[in-house]
């Protein structure tokens, strides 16, 4: 798998190491609250993602990880708190949601690719429809991206001809085709055959090295530990603990964190 070239991410520091907390914040969540039918799912979340940083969101099923990512992308309206993308308060109802979403890339667990479009059309759709790139230009860049993940020969295929891992990689590439400032990944490997998980995580690793800013919810503890600069442990709608992986995974003093992690080391 060839490397994503530096410059394909928004920042260009090639192989930049762990981002420092004093880098510019890309996403800032302040006191986010969200209820569904009377149940409070997010109960005051504060979280900042800095430029070039990879933040892993871990937590039990139902702890609110997906909900948090969806609020960050304005797919869910929050009940209180504020969300900043760069300097803009995107939780303000006066903000243009479509404009903002085009600055954020998202990949979910399932159903990411559009089944009626070829892989290349999937990758180039946003450039053409939203950013008004010419088809030639969009396809040139799309093919380049697909080539970088070894899928150039599948460009004209439809998604259902690809394996699950190939589909997820294409979905990731699609989400970065428009140079978003931030990439949100929601358990992108949990519907995959265990064998195919590796190739998808490798791609995320590459992207991180290329400087892409990533906030990802994951159940792959090993991956979170290896790749994330910072891990945030969500428990029942609050941030129970946050810090570098080494600290959380090995020296956490929070009993809930330890209990949660214990389930993965059977």
């Amino acid at each position: 798998m060839s490397l994503i070239e530096p410059g394909s991410g928004p920042g260009s520091g090639p192989g930049s190491g762990a981002a420092t907390p004093d880098a510019a914040p890309v996403l800032r969540l302040v006191g986010i609250r969200k209820s569904f039918e009377g149940t409070e799912v997010l109960r005051g979340i504060d979280l900042t993602v800095h430029r070039h940083e990879i933040v892993a969101l871990i937590g039990a099923s139902g702890s609110g990880k997906s909900t948090l990512l969806r609020t960050a992308n304005l797919l869910e309206q929050i009940d209180d708190g504020q969300i900043f993308l760069g300097d803009d308060d995107i939780s303000d109802p006066r903000a243009k949601a479509d404009r903002i979403r085009s600055r954020i890339g998202v990949v979910f667990q399932h159903f990411n690719l559009f089944p009626h479009l070829s892989v290349l059309d999937n990758v180039t759709l946003a450039s053409r429809a939203v950013h008004r790139a010419s088809r030639v230009e969009a396809e040139r860049r799309g093919l380049e991206l697909l080539d970088s993940i070894g899928l150039a020969d599948k460009a004209r295929e439809f998604p259902d001809r690809l394996s699950g891992g190939q589909q997820q990689r294409a979905a990731i590439v699609r989400s970065i085709a428009t140079d978003p400032e931030l990439l949100l990944l929601d358990e992108i490997t949990s519907a995959l055959d265990p064998e195919l998980v590796g190739e998808v995580l490798d791609l995320v690793r590459e992207l991180g090295r290329g400087g892409t800013t990533i906030l990802m919810a994951t159940h792959e503890m090993a991956f979170a530990r290896d790749v994330a600069h910072r891990v945030v442990f969500l428990d029942k709608g609050v941030v129970a603990e946050a810090g570098p992986p080494a600290q959380l995974f090995e020296h956490s003093e929070n009993p809930r964190t330890r209990e949660f992690l214990a389930r993965f080391t059977a």
Binding site: R70, N73, L75, D98, R99, R101, S102, R103, I104, G105, V106, F108, H110, F111, N112, F114, P115, H116, L125, A126, A129, V130, D160, G164, Q167, Q168, R174, S175, T178, A191, L192
Partner: protein
């Protein structure tokens, strides 16, 4: 009778024995089926066909001479049905797409149009076609505002009126059947509501509803025969005229067979397509 594998190694003697047994079973099954069919046919012959009533039935419903005599008029009428069908399909396609589009319009300013489209759809899903036919076919010309038109014209209008309601409803259901995460994915890419509608949701919706649309097409194919109540001499009315002339029902059978032959390819195709869609879904690639 040889292995289907690529390396065509000879099957083991046990396997050969099993195959012989299975072949024997197949032969037995076939024999049983044949015997059973013959027995059934004979029983049918004895208990039904051989009765005096049957010759009466045959005489009344399956009279070759009457069929031959009625055929020219019925087929001419049938040709009218086919033309009405073609125009109706075109009309339904246009009107229902307009209705479905109106119903996807967002923003408060469109509220009256949306409500109107929704009301229209509801209303004409609930009223029998025959009543719409009478209302349109006899009532509207009576207003005296339209130039004189043949009965089949008004029949087509009535068919389009009713079927557009069904079909626009099918489209709407199709739009809702597209998995919500597709809409989320489209919006996450920054596509606007109408862009995701046009480029992501609608293309998938159209595929999803193809079986339902084909079903509606088959239904339309048959309801075209109802224009006869307006006086258009279509296949049904032609059959009626011929039946009255001979007091013999064979002309209806002839008309029925014509409709059946017209519908059969579509029915087969619909079944095949529906099965294919289902098979794909059951394979269930979930990523």
């Amino acid at each position: 009778m040889s292995t289907t594998g690529i390396d065509a190694r000879p099957p083991s003697s046990i396997e050969l024995d099993r195959r012989a047994f299975r072949r024997q079973q197949t032969t037995r099954s076939t024999l049983i089926a044949i015997v059973s069919t013959v027995v059934f046919a004979v029983a049918a012959w004895i208990f039904v066909i051989n009765t005096p009533g049957w010759s009466r039935v045959q005489q009344t419903f399956l009279n070759w001479d009457v069929a031959v005599a009625a055929f020219p008029r019925v087929i001419e009428g049938f040709w009218l049905n086919v033309r009405v069908l073609i125009y109706s399909v075109i009309g339904v396609g246009i009107v229902s797409l307009v209705l479905a589009t109106v119903r996807t319009l967002r923003g408060p300013i469109w509220f009256p149009l949306r409500a109107l489209a929704a009301g229209y759809t509801d209303l004409f899903r609930g009223i029998p076609l025959i009543i719409v036919l009478y209302l349109v076919g006899y009532g509207i010309p009576g207003l005296g505002v339209f130039p004189r038109m043949p009965a089949e014209f008004w029949g087509t209008i009535a068919l389009v009126t009713v079927y557009s309601a069904y079909v626009s409803e099918v489209f709407r259901a199709g739009i809702e059947a597209v998995h919500p995460s597709q809409r989320l994915a489209a919006r996450s890419l920054g596509l606007s509501y109408s862009q995701s509608m046009r480029r992501v949701i609608l293309p998938q919706a159209v595929r999803k509803v193809t079986p339902a649309l084909m079903n509606d097409f088959v239904a339309l194919q048959k309801d075209v025969g109802l224009i006869s109540v307006l006086g258009a001499v279509d296949a049904v009315r032609a059959a009626q005229i011929e039946t009255a002339a001979y007091f013999n029902f064979t002309p209806y059978v002839v008309a029925g067979l014509l409709f059946f032959l017209l519908a059969l390819p579509m029915i087969r195709f619909t079944d095949w397509y529906t099965a294919r869609v289902r098979r794909r879904e059951q394979m269930g690639s979930i990523v």
